[in-house]
Symmetry: C2
Subunit: 128 residues, 2 copies
DNA sequence: AGATAAAATGATAATAGTTATCACTTTAGG
DNA sequence: CCTAAAGTGATAACTATTATCATTTTATCT
């Protein structure tokens, strides 16, 4: 990765001024510091920095929502290889809501866990 | 909520044929059963059913990604009132990855937990 | 330094997923 | 069986993001 003025500025704003900003918020922040960076450049750098592990991208991993007839509490796993979504039983995270509630004092209305990785089937295919 | 042929069919396909489909997949499934339902109607009904708690919508809660300079493992809470994103320490879910790995056999590359609800500040404002 | 190849920029256009609009149709209760 | 409320679906709009590509910047190699 080569140096660039723009990327340095983005990282600077991200680490000093901003709390979990969206790309749009970052653009505004940059503008307010007289660093007019094109949104293409911003997105490109955010993705690059996230891939390099320098920043973290928080999203649901996928652009389109999935719908589920099972309203039972359970979580999800998205296979990076085949794209399939698997159910994960809720008991992998006992006391999660209770712990979080007492750690924060927030009222928790709901939560989602999305894992990603390689499912068993794809793992075996790759192994061969 | 009034009855509608289309909604019945959507629910039917969702509960019998489909595993975590996206709206697009549902459209195809419906088409293949000769139920040509407009995508506007599909989206409207999916959202309505999800709001009524009859089905579940799996997504990251928000359409735009957030970026985070803190690459430490931690989770997130989105306040439904003010929209702010808060950090949640990772220790609310001890052994989560280990538990999930042994429950499924999948290779887990990463995961995200997103809570939603009302943050302390908004809770107090509402209380007054 | 000067040449040059690789990487980065940013304006523009494109894409994907979803929601808004609105004239028309269906449903349900008096 | 009439009417108000709810639902439909074609079209257009919108939002967040990625692709394209000519131009500029950076790093490397004499």
């Amino acid at each position: 990765m080569n140096y660039s003025k723009q990327r340095e500025k983005i990282l600077d704003v991200l680490s000093n001024n901003a709390v979990h900003p969206t790309a749009e918020t970052l653009l505004e922040l940059l503008k307010s510091e007289n660093a007019n960076i094109g949104f293409t450049t911003l997105y490109r750098n955010l993705n690059k920095l996230a891939q390099a592990g320098i920043i973290k991208k928080i999203d649901g991993l996928e652009s389109s929502a999935h719908f589920d007839h099972n309203t039972f509490e359970h979580y999800h796993f998205i296979c990076e290889e085949c794209g399939k979504v698997f159910d994960i039983p809720a008991n992998v995270a006992p006391d999660l809501v209770k712990n979080t509630q007492s750690a924060t004092g927030f009222d928790i209305a709901g939560h989602d866990i999305v894992f990603h990785g390689i499912c068993i089937e794809c793992k075996q295919k790759k192994g061969q």
